[in-house]
Amino acid sequence: MKIGILAIQGDFEAHERRLGELGAGTGLVRRAEELEGLDALVLPGGESTTQLQFLVDEGLFDLLVARARDGFPLFGTCAGAILLANEVRNPDQASLGLLDITVVRNAYGRQLESCVTREPSELGAEPLEMVFIRAPVIERAGPTVRVLARRDGRPVLVEQGRIFAATFHPELSADPTVHAYFLKGVRDGR
């Protein structure tokens, strides 16, 4: 199994390290042709405005939409979740529109509101450690979106078919649960 990681900008190396620890092959993706031969793609944390521009310029935007519609699994964290959303606000911003959620950028506030918390999740009995950095808020999740964890009542970990997203950074936690769940989903064709 080989998982691609979008390596335009952001904490792609943290995802690469974590997936490697869990035994997955990895490849960094900066250009459209680098998507070939991959079983899934991770959209890492970083700045969604920067990443969006490259997706469009490199022709990856349309390609990812087409591949995802054919069942190609995608996993986005923080900025990645923003890119996957159907609707992005604060301000309005284009997105891939692959996940039926409405996301509000920087909704908790600036860096001073960044934090580490623990919340229960559907992934196991133990609460998940969640690292939030200038995080977005999922203001609305559509009826076919499964919410796997919440913070203050609002979804922070969601999936819809083969699209998986977290508004926090599991790649910055010592806990591998979220990535292990993602890999199992890719393997099982969930």
């Binding site: 390596a7 335009i8 900008q9 952001g10 904490d11 792609f12 190396e13 943290a14 900066r30 944390g45 970083g46 700045e47 405005t49 920067t50 521009q53 490259f54 310029d57 923080c78 900025a79 604060n90 301000p91 950028r105 920087n106 506030g109 600036r110 860096q111 001073l112 960044s114 934090c115 580490v116 690292v131 939030f132 950095i133 200038r134 950074h169 910055l172």
Partner: protein, 300 residues
């Protein structure tokens, strides 16, 4: 001693370094107005540095360079959605307190401003906002990290448009890390004494082969190829100060440097990014500068 000091597991420390991680592979641009901040964001900057004057003008105009006025910073905070950084003078913890109260996302304790304290840097662990500090070698980088810096950048020679000093500093930091990795535990004690850096941090670097915080490059980056050079030498992101808004076509140059940073190891893309950019900033021969004109010798 496998754990990095006692602060590596502290949640506040983790979210500080976490924001630095998010900026990797990107370009942080100096801006002096809302218009420039918007141009930078549109060009793909991953953050902006809000300033009153870019380093090239500070150098030219002289006088005491201080923290920017709160109004400029606040206007820029409201104008863009990407993180906003601002500079405080070395050792001027009260300026840093003001910047924290303004809720900037990162503070640069910077040699570009006139130092407020020639003995001491800011004790950065006392703040909730993360700090970036300049360094010319590994010892200096580790001293700043010990004080709480969540990101290191090379000092280079700000406002010079000349990459030579950033290259010198980056090669020094990366080379010294490589050398530490070859040392036995007992040899690291002498090495840390020689560098003037805490043993725990020297040990961590020796065993992990990198800094415990992201390592960026700043000071003299003016072209896409400059950005590609420092990225290939081991920088994880770049700061561009005067290089963009002192060039003839800032918008295009900003975009080109962003592209070359992401694709630093792909010469064809760096070539594309280098075409039709207009004039780069003029630049200075650092060897023609007097010792007292150098910004990089501020701080220790």
């Amino acid at each position: 001693m496998a754990e990095l000091m006692n602060f590596s597991s502290d949640p506040q420390w983790r979210v500080k370094v976490g924001l630095a991680e998010m900026l990797k592979g990107g370009v942080i641009m100096d801006v002096t107005s809302v218009d420039q901040a918007v141009i930078a964001e549109k060009a793909g900057a991953c953050a902006v540095m809000a300033l009153e004057r870019v380093p090239a003008d500070i150098r030219k105009e002289g006088g005491v360079a201080r923290m920017a006025s709160p109004k400029i910073i606040r206007d820029i905070l409201h104008a863009v959605t990407i993180p906003v950084m601002a500079k405080a003078r070395i050792g001027h913890f009260a300026e840093a307190q003001v910047l924290e109260a303004l809720e900037v996302d990162f503070i640069d304790e910077s040699e570009v401003l006139t130092p407020a304290d020639e003995e001491n840097h800011i004790w950065k662990h006392a703040f909730r906002v993360p700090f970036v500090c300049g360094a010319r070698n590994l010892g200096e980088a580790l001293r700043r990290i010990a004080e709480g810096a969540a990101m290191i950048r090379t000092k280079g020679e700000a406002g010079s448009g000349n990459i030579v000093e950033a290259v010198r500093h980056l090669r020094a930091i990366v080379g010294e890390m490589r050398r530490l990795a070859t040392l036995a535990d007992e040899e690291l004690v002498a090495a840390s004494k020689q560098m003037g850096a805490p043993l725990e941090l020297a040990h961590w670097v020796a065993r992990n082969g990198k800094l415990p915080v992201p390592n960026f490059s700043a000071g003299g980056i003016a072209t896409p190829a400059d950005a590609a050079l420092v990225m290939q030498l081991g920088a994880e992101a770049v700061f561009v100060g005067s290089g963009i808004f002192k060039s003839s076509d800032p918008e295009r140059r900003a975009k080109a440097i962003v592209k070359a940073t992401t694709h630093a190891r792909d010469p064809k893309v760096v070539l594309e990014a280098s075409e039709e950019l207009g004039e780069a900033m003029k630049g200075l021969d650092v060897r023609q500068l007097d010792e007292k004109e150098l910004l990089q010798t501020r701080g220790w």
